[in-house]
């Protein structure tokens, strides 16, 4: 007797994405640097992903796919803010954005962390997002490539360039 899983039916949406909640929230928190923005984008990511879930062919591509949605939303948010000529200051960002104050002071003090945060914020969009995905969400280069719609080599190069720019800023 045949079984439905032979038909390659992806698991229900809630079940499939449950394990990625923390990763996505961490990525959004790092990307936006603001707790309320991160929660807002998290909600938006979930709703967009649910709507588009039927177009996802297999479960294998789920992780980069959902990161792609999240990173697109981050980019849209920044673009919208720039259009409204709002000044985004990293100083107003939540302290948890790049780690709590206790951990930052233990590794060079709050000033050094603030400087690093500003340097990351100044990175070009793709490099910044590739760096976030690699260093904070732990994605493989292939997954970053799929999420940012570029090749594995390009994803690797983006992370490298981002780190090089941070080093030059130090």
């Amino acid at each position: 007797m045949g079984r439905a899983y032979e038909l390659r039916i992806p698991p229900p949406f809630d079940e499939a994405v449950k394990s990625m909640e923390r990763e996505i929230m961490r990525f959004l928190m790092r990307s936006t640097g603001d707790r309320e923005d991160a929660k807002d984008l998290f909600q938006e990511t979930w709703l967009r992903a649910y709507r588009a879930y039927p177009s996802l062919q297999t479960e294998d591509g789920l992780r980069p796919w959902i990161f792609r949605i999240a990173s697109n939303l981050c980019r849209n948010r920044v673009r919208d803010r720039m259009r409204r000529a709002r000044v985004i200051t990293n100083a107003s960002a939540n302290g948890a954005a790049l780690g709590d104050s206790a951990s930052s002071s233990a590794r060079g003090g709050p000033d050094a962390m603030l400087h690093l945060k500003r340097s990351i914020a100044r990175l070009p969009g793709k490099q910044g997002q590739a760096l976030m995905m690699r260093k904070f969400a732990g994605l493989e280069y292939a997954e970053i490539g799929a999420a940012l719609n570029c090749s594995v080599q390009s994803a690797r190069a983006s992370v490298y360039q981002a780190l090089r720019k941070l080093k030059a800023d130090e």
């Binding site: 439905a4 032979e6 038909l7 039916i9 923390r22 929230m25 790092r30 709703l47 039927p54 780690g99």
Partner: protein, 267 residues
């Protein structure tokens, strides 16, 4: 100047506490739940069953059977794609086995199983929905022509559109598109294969001839007057084609509760 490796190490060692993330996720969840209620697709249980007409992919929602797909003829990819756009699919063999048991009972002569509720969510146009709903009123043991069904839904010249509707019927067997035949008396095509059309018609008591045409003793029955005639009867020729059904023989028409015409005396 700090090395690239040291920067990477520092980035990796500045974690956000899982507790903070969980609290934020919980705060976001209430908004997600509220919005998901508006966009959540209904659930449908899916599975594959063997049957006397080959392996079938079954999908059933709370409203009824949403899809029956003959797997012997082609893959299920397109059907699953359509289903996923409208439903959240859940693998559930127990539910689909129950439908399989009903199909087995149909082939053993239990026609009551055909009253199973159907969910026509996958039907795309109002015309198609009306045609399929109207088709369900054709009793087991009788057939109707494409032209007759087109007339029954108020479009007497739309027999080709009826053909397209039958070809895309999402719930064959339970929405009996196998009961639609050509006006020339041949049984026509079937999405699940002509062989299965013949099997289904025979299971319902309509004995199709070996030449895949209506049997010579077939009679025409009128749905409203409940009278059946020979095809050549002048009364049958005058009658509204949208109300005419075809029975395999006079006995079948009699069993369906119709009386014989007093002009042509088919019995």
């Amino acid at each position: 100047m700090m090395s690239t490796n040291k920067i990477a190490t520092r980035l990796e060692q500045t974690p956000i506490d899982d507790g903070v993330l969980d609290a934020m996720i919980n705060e976001a969840r209430s908004g997600i739940e509220r919005d998901m209620q508006l966009i959540r697709r209904p659930e449908a249980r899916v599975g594959v069953i063997p049957s006397p007409v080959g392996r079938l992919l079954i999908a059933e929602s709370k409203r009824g059977l949403a899809t029956i797909h003959f797997l012997a003829l082609d893959g299920a990819e397109r059907t699953l794609e359509k289903l996923r756009k409208k439903f959240d699919l859940i693998e559930n063999e127990a539910s689909t086995r129950r439908v399989g048991a009903e199909i087995d009972r149909l082939f053993k002569g239990d026609l009551s199983v055909l009253a199973h509720r159907v969910d026509l969510t996958l039907v795309e146009s109002d015309f198609q929905r009306r045609a399929l709903t109207s088709l369900r009123t054709v009793p087991a043991g009788a057939v109707i022509t494409y032209q007759g069904l087109a007339a029954a839904v108020g479009h007497p010249n739309s027999q080709r559109a009826i053909g397209t509707t039958m070809a895309s019927n999402p719930v064959p067997i339970f929405v009996p598109c196998h009961r639609v035949i050509r006006s020339d008396g041949s049984i026509g095509n079937y999405g699940g294969g002509v062989e299965n059309k013949v099997k289904l018609l025979r299971a319902e008591g309509f004995n199709v001839g070996r030449d895949l045409r209506l049997p010579a003793r077939a009679v025409m029955g009128h749905r409203k007057t409940r009278i059946f005639c020979r095809p050549e009867c002048s009364a049958a020729k005058r009658a509204d084609s949208s109300r005419m059904l075809i029975f395999a023989d006079a006995q079948c028409a009699g069993q369906a509760g119709l009386r014989a015409c007093k002009l042509c005396r088919p019995m």
